[in-house]
């Protein structure tokens, strides 16, 4: 049957919903493109034959054309959905992706990520009066200036805005400026303690 490989790509997307991306499936993608090429060539030939006078070939052409369109849709959907996830990852992981997440992106996707990163940074810089506004901060309305956090992993030293050094060692508990540690919480290094 046509388009089975293309559908594999879609199924792969469905399985990885809500998580970071699986490796860019270049192999399957190439298979799909090959199938499309074959379909196209076959149609080309049938059309030529039809022009020569052979009758009844158009239904076949119609079917192959539908398969071509379908393949196209699957591939585009695959790329589009991956891009969306890539964009979301900027907000979830921050501007630098963990190495193993980055490893799963294709070259073009990495480029796109970097460009998105840059546009976002430029936009955020342009907001507000001085120095811009960090949109990734305060995703939830802050209640207090400082928050209590607990360290979940050995992260090493961390310099606060006031210039003091805090050692983020597993199971140590700190009271820090919310703005300083929010991204560390989002990355799973700190845990926010509420009472």
């Amino acid at each position: 049957m046509f388009c089975e490989k293309a559908l594999d790509l879609i199924r792969e997307l469905q399985r990885s919903r809500g998580a970071s991306l699986p490796p860019f499936n270049e192999d399957t993608l190439r298979h799909v493109l090959e199938e499309m090429k074959a379909l196209y060539e076959q149609n080309q030939q049938d059309v030529n034959d039809a022009v020569q006078g052979e009758a009844g070939l158009f239904s076949g052409v119609q079917i192959r054309h539908a398969a071509l369109e379908r393949n196209k849709r699957c591939i585009l959907a695959y790329l589009q959905n991956r891009l969306k996830t890539t964009r979301d990852m900027r907000w979830e992981f921050g501007s630098v992706l963990p190495a193993d997440v980055k490893y799963n992106l294709s070259e073009a996707e990495i480029q796109w990520f970097n460009k998105y990163n840059k546009s976002l940074a430029n936009y955020m810089r342009s907001l507000g009066e001085d120095g811009g506004l960090d949109l990734t901060q305060d995703m939830k309305p802050p209640k207090t200036l400082y928050i209590e956090v607990r360290c979940k992993v050995d992260h090493g030293e961390f310099e606060t805005q006031e210039g003091s050094i805090v050692l983020l060692k597993k199971n140590s508990q700190h009271f820090l400026l919310r703005s300083e540690c929010e991204h560390l919480i989002r990355q799973g290094i700190l845990e926010h303690i509420v009472h």
Partner: protein
């Protein structure tokens, strides 16, 4: 739960959305087609024979997106095959659904029962209006239960509750659960708590699972 951006990529599920994963999967459901005209050089599509061509009268299970192209009642010239409406949308099943929609395992009848059913209407079958009203009634009949269970299952394993739901109903259930959880979080002041990003959590989980393997 997925954040706003992640869920926005899923919106447009109900109408046709070119990039929607669910829509692509739903339109891949198979449907029985009977060929009216011969199709040359595509005999390999019919696994039961070794013929080079598909001969008129042969019946094939084809995905919806292909059947949609083949069956064209308005333009007789382009009409290649007739489709047979799947049995789960036929009268006998419609009667079962009418009797009590709540006990039916819609997931088994097709994980995309509603979406696929709505798509079928495009073939303009004779009982189109019956199918349409059956879909609406079924949904109405089941909605209350879904809402109830999604609003009352707090911190429970809901695999049992969602096992018989169609994919769209599952999304509804999830939305209900999200509402419930958000409310509880608000009430117990857990909304204030900054959370680790969902993706980071999932990423770590997968890493750990990989380590164990």
């Amino acid at each position: 739960m997925a954040n706003s951006q992640a869920s926005s990529s899923r919106s447009g599920y109900y109408e046709e959305n070119y990039f929607s994963i669910d829509d692509i999967l739903a339109t891949h459901e198979r449907i029985k087609c009977k060929f009216e005209v011969p199709v040359f050089r595509l005999g390999f599509l019919d696994m039961t024979t070794d013929n080079e061509h598909i001969s008129p009268g042969s019946k094939l299970d084809l995905p919806f997106w292909l059947a949609r192209v083949l069956c064209n009642k308005r333009n007789k010239k382009k009409h290649i095959a007739d489709v047979e409406i799947p049995k789960q949308y036929k009268e006998s099943y419609r009667e079962i659904l009418l009797a009590d929609a709540n006990v039916v395992d819609l997931h088994k009848l097709g994980p995309y029962y509603y979406t696929f059913g709505a798509q079928l209407l495009k073939f303009d079958p004779a009982d189109a209006s019956d199918i349409a009203s059956s879909l609406v009634q079924t949904f109405q009949g089941r909605f209350r239960n879904i809402m109830d269970s999604s609003q009352n299952a707090y911190n429970e394993d809901n695999a049992r509750l969602t096992a018989k739901l169609d994919e769209m109903e599952k999304d509804l259930f999830k939305a209900g659960q999200k509402g419930l959880n958000d409310f509880q979080d608000w009430e117990t002041r857990r909304v204030e708590k900054l959370q680790t990003s969902t993706m980071v959590v999932n990423h770590k989980k997968r890493k750990r699972a990989a380590l164990i393997e």
